[in-house]
Symmetry: C3
Subunit: 340 residues, 3 copies
């Protein structure tokens, strides 16, 4: 169990400490559930009343809320960011350096760095390069010539195809697939059906990229699919061949981005957004959940589509009218013209 004094936490966060500097903290928890050995935080003023009842040994909060808590506290500018930074201390899953399991099949022409953790039944192909302090979970497959940067962590049962580049300090969760073939087929008018277009590009992923579980990022047709530094991607996201995702963009679960689309920097996509292929989204665009994006977006801002669920009985009547909308509009116009 991790154990650290409040003074050490204050120093690591650059926080002003008020209260018991020698207090031993062994965990982090929400205000409502924290115990005396936990540190907690107030990120959202709406929860300030919990400060009166919390059992937390110490609380991280802003100067402006500091007077609301009489116990030990760390005063900072951004309690939520400090909570994020602290959370690393208490994540025991990051503590191991287990070496290379004897069952790992590492090609003689692959290079593996120092202080790595490579689990059972990992397979690393010819010419692959695995950086220092990389962690690879059991059953994960790394294709030929693929490069994995320092300190990157691949969970169990990840699949990275050949010719993929992954930068430093990345995280990739289980069942995620990087570098499978893009969905490229030419209609075969001579024989009917489809002729496969072999996907000869790769995938280039920057530094500090996090990719959730069961996500798929396809390799490019001729050039690479590109994910820039600092991009964060949730579970079950589909990124098609030749997409380009700009720095620090965040993509929530179940989103799908079709081929060759370019997303700018610092964009945020809520869950299940669908983006058509071959368009361009500028920087600082937000899409609300389940938006259907069919055109390029050149102005920053928030964009939406869809309608929210209502009782089925009401919905049915209105949904029928949707298919009469053009007719309704035409009739309204006709009526208006009678009044002019």
């Amino acid at each position: 169990m991790t154990s650290i004094t409040l003074r050490e936490l204050a120093d690591s966060l650059g926080a002003r400490l008020e209260g018991n500097a020698g207090l031993t903290i062994t965990g982090i928890a929400g205000l409502a559930t924290a115990k005396i050995s936990d540190i907690s935080f107030l990120a959202n003023k709406a929860y300030a009343k919990l400060l009166e009842q919390t059992q937390a040994g110490a609380v991280i909060l802003r100067e402006t809320e500091a007077h609301l808590f009489s116990g030990s506290k760390l005063i900072v500018e951004d309690p939520y960011l400090c909570y994020a930074r602290l959370s690393r201390h208490f994540d025991a899953s990051y503590d191991h350096v287990s070496g290379i399991h004897p069952t790992a099949v590492i090609d003689g022409k692959a290079e593996v760095g120092q202080n790595v953790s490579i689990g059972p039944y990992v397979v690393i192909g010819r010419g692959a390069v695995i950086g220092d302090e990389v962690s690879i979970g059991s059953g994960t497959s790394i294709g030929e010539g693929t490069i994995v940067g320092n300190r990157t962590r691949l969970a169990a049962n990840v699949t990275v195809y050949h010719g993929v580049f992954i930068g430093e300090d990345c995280v990739v969760h289980s069942a995620t697939v990087i570098g499978a073939d893009g969905f490229g087929f030419a209609p075969d008018r001579e024989n009917g059906g489809w002729c496969k277009i072999h996907q000869l590009g790769g995938v280039r992923i920057g530094n500090r990229v996090e990719i959730g579980a069961s996500t798929a990022i396809d390799r490019g047709a001729l050039e690479d699919t590109v994910i820039e530094d600092g991009v964060i991607i949730d579970n079950q996201v589909h990124i098609a061949h030749n997409c380009h995702i700009g720095e620090n963009t965040a993509i929530a679960a179940n989103c799908g981005i079709a081929g060759s689309t370019r997303i700018g920097r610092n964009c945020t996509m809520a869950g299940a957004v669908g983006i058509v292929g071959h368009i361009e989204i500028t920087d600082n665009v937000h899409f609300t959940g389940m938006s259907m994006v069919t055109k390029s977006v050149s102005e920053p801002g928030s964009y939406s589509s869809g309608t929210s669920a209502v009782p089925t009985r009401e919905w049915r009547k209105n949904a029928v009218r949707f298919n009469q909308l053009n007719d309704l509009a035409t009739r309204l116009k006709a009526l208006e013209s009678k009044h002019n």
Copy 2:
């Protein structure tokens, strides 16, 4: 091949038997395709006319339809439920107890129960506890300290992270990931980009839970993500960190539930429903397919959103009008006021 007499089937179902009690049944099939060695069933009156032509050796049906079939029959209250119960008899994939494959890597500090089936290349981490009669398919990874209850079946290539609790009599299908990190990041206003919030909670899954293929259930940020007893979840479902899914709720394929949302008991979600985070859905709510749920639901009943596909030519005209709806409504109101 499983073989059982009609009398034995009747006894196991508590059914009234009419006809040839000694008939040997070796399979179960629909009325249209059943052979003389099969038993079939009539669950939906609409198919009653198939009773005249079916080759089935015996049929399960209700008292009220019994006169429509002259062959051997089992008379029950709920033929569909009886079919479900019978289906277990004919599922050969449930018959094996294969022991522990010599290639399984089981940590010395893990505990494994009696009569288990553990396939090749399974990896079980330190402190994990595997119950009796558990079945684990090849390549599946069980993290440190994870608990798998008696008779639970994990298919091949499942990934269960550390600190996950799975109850008894559960089924988890391939490529599913339980306990990957929730999608938690704090905006880092000092350095730009995102700061990872390490996900320190776990996942707690009750008894008799079935989870389809390629589904992802994330671990909680501080507390656990919870799936209660009897929940059934289809393929490619995303359940974000700190969700709580109530007993016996059914979630069809491609649904996504964002973080900290609480779904009640006995809810049913058709395919591809999206539910926003931090809301609460009461018991006995049904969402029709592709619904976009943006607010808490406090009344039981059926809820819907979206519009159905129509010919693209017609759709295009109406979809354009959608973006004029507020204008149309305002103009209609203006016109109405001229008439008052």
Copy 3:
């Protein structure tokens, strides 16, 4: 590195060659990025102006555009199809025949053909039949009695359950699951909750079928789920039990098709289309992205639903009006009747 003369390429494509027949080609690239050692192609007239600047050693183009390029060229009827055919030459990942890795666990009662590539930690169950020249990536699991046809390629970490039939010349990408249980449960009115319906059917997949990453095709309840010859399926597609997908149909990423639905031949589904269960879609139907398909379609053509993302501020006003649509229509009608 693959190396081939322009003459050999012309012969393999049946193209008319103009220019330097002895030119050595080592790669294929787009017009903008091609080097002198590459061949390129003009598939879309809109890019014709790139012909003036391209560094490509040779270009594939149509007779009608041939005069626009002064360098070496291959003249064909369908440059895009020729590009697709050529791409195979330059896909190094198809060149290996690596034999059977010693760690593969192949049941004594499985049959394996000639010239196969079977990677580390592959597991092949009892009674499975693996054809000639089949390639199976590391960690892939093949269930009991499953048949994999000649020249079919399964990537790493694929899961194929028992009793599945896969034809010849297919490709299946990583984390895809074929033959998991369909989502079949009977409401258990006696005990509450759900009673599992064991899924006794299999999956039958034709020849030349390509299936992307993280896709799930469930086994049938009593009969088989069927994917006909030449079907192409992208990533993260869900195909439920007892679906039937007709020849050469193309299904883009994130689509979901509910149980027992029958899709015709030569259909195309753009991304994230949802199709309800128990309906029938005729041949040659196209669904645009994110369409919600709730009824059978008996006429070929293009179908759509949904509305496109617009600025959230505008969307909000119109989305509110959606739920007043029936009221608006009724009021419009009332107003019209005053004018007659």
